[in-house]
Amino acid sequence: MASVEFDHVTKVYPNGFKAVEDVSLDVSDGEFMVLVGPSGCGKTTLLRMIAGLEEITTGTLRIGSSVVNDLSPKDRDIAMVFQNYALYPHMSVAQNIGFALRLRKVPKAEIDRRVREAVKILGLSDWLDRKPAQLSGGQRQRVAMGRAMVREPAVFLMDEPLSNLDAKLRVQMRAEVSRIQRRLGVATVYVTHDQVEAMTMGDRVAVMHGGVLQQVDSPQTLYDQPVNMFVASFIGSPAMNLYEAALEPGVRSLRIGSQRIELPDAVRVARPGLAAYGGRTVVIGLRPEHLRTAEVTEPGATVEADVELVEALGNELQVHFTIDARRVVAEGAAEESEVVQSGEGVARVDPRAALKPGTRAAFQVDTQRMQFFDAENGTAIWG
């Protein structure tokens, strides 16, 4: 078992494309680190660099205490689970799982013991002689896990291992992968574009965008204290509502469209940096659950909006609304197909709230949990 350390690592492809830019990241021994980000953000390249499948252009990569930049994959003591499982189609389940051990000339009895132990944990005991083509997607995924487990490697690498499974199986396997990782206690780097996987599985989550590491933190910290607009919009579903707002001099209130929201002292205490933004335009972030339906409108802490659509999910209502403010979309955070109209937003409210499309509703804003970002560079405003 070992740690992984990226020290100012950059990857530039021969065509000049910079896939990873100056990444420094430590994964401690036994830690479950999730790399998350949209397609093309460099997360898989980073993972493949640990595996030795991509060369490092500049910087240093250490596994344990050794620099591994120039080591071939077989000499790195890592195991990897691939997105499409990459099972050997001509080998049985047992042969697939035991392949790496046979290459290392582990005695046959020991291979048998480890393979049987792995298939018992993974519930594959009845399928040992089957070929991959005769297995379901979930079973193939488990064989891929088994192949990595028996190695007892220093580091586990997983490249979107659940993305080919159906939704129900994905939830089940999510828990299973986390359980196996905790049981083995091996440092694990897990790549996903699914932020729910990232939030539920990772001890820490590293958010990437455009080849640059944006923030590395515990899932809760990422959610509560995103360092910039990209992280704020990428983490959380539905995404955080971002609007342009004008801070009034003295930062006692702000204007969002034609509406005014008062800011309590606690906001200014928590974010002393806001003082410098008095009289300027900033971007405010409101998580959908921080907008509650207000029976009695409290002046200075509510926004009025036109309800466009109400989706009942059973445990909550997702209310799509518009307000007369300019909505901001963080670059790269929204899906390309997503059409964002000016002033659109989403609120998650109590399922019993009486909201109908086409009506006007008032939402109470949890101002203490409101996020503030610099309108120019998108960074969060704190100290």
């Binding site: 994959p73 077989k74 890592i78 990459a86 050997y88 392949f99 192949r147």
Partner: protein, 273 residues
Amino acid sequence: MVSRLSRPLVFLALCLVAISTVYPLVFMAANTMRSTSAYERSPYGLPSHFSLGSFSALVNQVPFLSSLLHSLIVVVPAVVVATLSSALAAFVFTKVPVKFGNGLFWLMLMVMFMPGIVVLLPLYVEIAHAGLANNFMPAILIYTALNIPYGTYLMRANFRAIPDSVIEAARVDGGSWLHIFRSVVLPIARPAIVTIGILTFLNIWNELFISLVLLHEPSNEMLTPTLAQLSGRFGTDIPVLMAGLLLGSIPTLLLYFLTARVFIRGMLSGAVR
């Protein structure tokens, strides 16, 4: 989808194709059983009297059995080495990151497009200088070398279908390139390799010109020049020639029947597309 109406037409067309393929074989087999005079009277239909005279005439007129043996001595190693080398080259060109890999591949393809005869004479001069004329080894090497580009070209298309991630998984599992080739690529691509092996066998087995130039002494003559001698300047004994051709195609047919299942899988999987 084949509609109900067009189904009989398709069946008819397939029958015609099958007949046009099988008929020459039947014609050849039937005429080995006729005497020369019976052939001259009517070469078509089944013979009225069966005679094996053409086979004994064949063995008396030309050194058939020794030529067959010489052909096997040259063709078998050439096919094995050419097929394995083509597979290894195709593996490197598709899966191993090598500098100038594409350039090397196109350079190799140039050899494929070059007629064998262009390189044959310079090669023969060199071989003769080295005192190796009428020796099996240069023939084996030349047949091997001339067939590698063609085999590599066909196998490259097939190896591309093997997902890169399977090779990467084997690298991470601890395999060297050679081990990955042996334990992962060869078993996965077996149908394609067998198919291309058979096609290479056919290529070399049926080749006349190179064997005529390189091995021209009766003591090491291959089968095709021997059979060519049966076609005389002033007349050809067709039943004897047919007997030679029939016996000469037995190794090819045997190879096909032994590997038919894998061969058809290889053709269907696109080994030669």
